[in-house]
Amino acid sequence: MRSRSGGSTEPQGRRPRRITAGRIGLYAFLLTAALFFLLPLWIMLVTSLKPMEEIRLGNIVALPAALTFEAWGKAWSSACTGLACDGISVGFWNSVRILVPSVILSIALGAVNGYALSLWRIRGANLLFGILLMGAFIPYQVFLYPLVRIFSAVGVYNSLSCIVIVHAIFGLPTMTLLFRNYYAGIPADLFKAARVDGGGFWTIFLRVILPMSTPMLVVATILQVTGIWNDFILGLTFAGRENLPMTVQLNNIVHSTQGERAYNVDMAATMLAALVPLAVYFVSGRWFVRGIAAGAVKG
């Protein structure tokens, strides 16, 4: 054997072709699929930017000839939801007020729960976790009536705290599962070292474990923000008339019409309601996929 220095050695034969029939087919399929899923969004967007005269012509895919943002303004501040005509803005702020405490509370509970179940190995941890997981598989509808009775007995029914508690409860199984699996991947030695160093339950959690949890915190936030923002049935049932979330208000706008149906306003209102989850998807693409994978594969 001798070693070469200088000169170059070419691989033999022709380089394999990059573009094959299979590749072209693959791209054609991907493109069609993307168009198929983008089409509704496109129709919503262009319709919301057209005046009603243009919509009546029926070219739903066409670009607006006379671009107008009137429908968006109307949807935000003056569209009628039932008797009140304040637009969807009321619902937007209601949703924000529900969202922020619900997300924080459910993630905090899930993280502590997952930490206790995976690292402290308390007696019966697996049984507790099993019961909690079962909760994730029971349909919401089963809980609605009992919960309504419990909350009205306690006297918090139809209030902001009521809907926040409900979101925290329903988020608990998923959040616990997510954090428990993440913490199960942390080397046990790290936890032992912290115990030898004198950390207690809360010090180890706050000073060692939580600073390591950033990826899971991001994923959990994404899941909870989109989930809670898109919720309809829980908000309708538990929030009370004063705190109805945006999704419920949107439904009221679309269904309370006098005379001609204002498609452009409906579409604009829908777009407004979808803005928060859309923004979350766009900003956090990589993390979002990771979150779905974490929820789906582990368990």
Partner: protein, 359 residues
């Protein structure tokens, strides 16, 4: 004075009993190595001493106190782990001072101890780095530093060098030994499956297998007078040679016989003189076999030669027995050569074939 005393300890995981009444006394300032293959329970024992694992029966005493139910932090111990276990979101300085901060030590005292430990381990220039900016060897230095800072009387090491490459392992091994000498009165309990670490570091080695202590003794005792076949085979590289045979009487003298090979046992120190006719296994270390022309066991041929630099391991065989011989690295030997083997009865070990115990 006894620094650590394990008294009649039993440990059970659910229905599975791992230890049943195990006892061990460790003197102050002693370096004790728990040695055994994986799954022998050595780490379990260490975790029980640290208080990271509850015992189901028995007591653990550290420094004259019964600490059986004390939290790890109250036992006066420090621990170093195989995976380093550095807190990833803290700087080296914060890692080292975490325990002291938990104990609300005054800031000046923390600084003094961290500086001192960092000096001792030559990691002063790393103090402001994060663990992920360090190499494996540096990480383990920091982990040792974190243990030093605690000012504990007893240091527990759980396979601290197993994740490092061979060169670093040798360096840090020497450093740990130097550290033990410098700290003077510090007791160290060190778990490993590496016999070289055990032999080089230990004042006493505890050889374990399947949750049972096989032998406790100085490295020289363990190596020279292994108490059973397992210890004999586990310690030493290349491995001890084993030859099956029987004891035969020659008048009132005993001799070992295997096929046509014989070895008079006048010089062998029996712990309890056995009766002739007993089935035995003769164990002899490769360096205690003298290859030559006039040995007591003739008729061997060299099969394979393994040069290792300083010395050469020669595998030779007579058709039924294969014997490894360690000889000087400068000696010229070639496969196919015939030779006879010289053995000294004072240097061999004899084990009962049925129980495996030393005779």
């Amino acid at each position: 004075m006894t620094a650590v005393s394990v008294r009649d300890v039993s440990i059970a995981f659910g229905m599975l009993r791992v230890f049943d009444g195990l006892s061990l006394d460790i003197e102050e300032g002693e370096f004790v190595v728990l040695l055994g293959p994986s799954g022998c329970g050595k780490s379990t024992l260490l975790n029980a001493i640290a208080g990271l694992l509850d015992v189901s029966a028995g007591q653990i005493w550290i420094d004259g106190r019964n600490v059986t139910w004390d939290e790890p932090k109250d036992r006066g111990i420090a621990m170093v782990f195989q995976s380093y276990a550095l807190y990833p979101r803290m700087s080296v300085r914060e890692n080292m001072s975490f325990g002291l901060r938990m104990a609300r030590t005054p800031k000046a005292e923390i600084d003094r101890r961290v500086t001192q430990a960092a000096d001792l381990l030559q990691i002063t220039h790393l103090l402001d780095r994060r663990p992920d900016q360090l190499s494996g060897g540096q990480r383990q230095r920091v982990a040792i530093g974190r243990a030093l800072v605690r000012d504990a009387g007893v240091f527990l090491f759980d396979e601290p060098l197993s994740n490092l490459d061979a060169k670093l392992r040798n360096e840090l091994r020497v450093e740990i030994k130097r550290l033990h000498a410098r700290l003077g009165k510090a007791t160290m309990i060190y778990v490993t499956h590496d016999q070289v670490e055990a032999m080089t570091l230990a004042d006493r080695i505890v050889v374990m297998k399947e949750q049972k202590v096989q032998q406790i003794g100085s490295p020289a005792e363990i190596y020279g007078r292994p108490s059973n076949l397992f210890v004999a085979g586990f310690i030493g590289s290349p491995q001890m040679n084993f030859v099956r045979g029987r004891l035969e009487a020659e008048g009132n003298r005993l001799a070992f016989a295997a096929g046509r090979h014989r070895l008079p046992l006048d010089a062998y120190a029996f712990s309890d003189r056995p009766e002739p006719g007993r089935e035995v296994v003769l164990g002899v270390r490769p360096e205690h076999v003298e290859p030559g022309a006039s040995g007591v066991w003739p008729g061997f041929t060299i099969d394979i030669v393994e040069p290792m630099g300083a010395d050469t391991v020669v595998w030779c065989s007579d058709g039924t027995e294969t014997i490894q011989v360690r000889t000087s690295g400068t000696r010229r030997v070639a496969p196919g050569e015939g030779l006879s083997l010289g053995l000294d009865a004072a240097q061999v070990s004899l084990f009962a074939a049925d129980t495996g115990e030393r005779l």
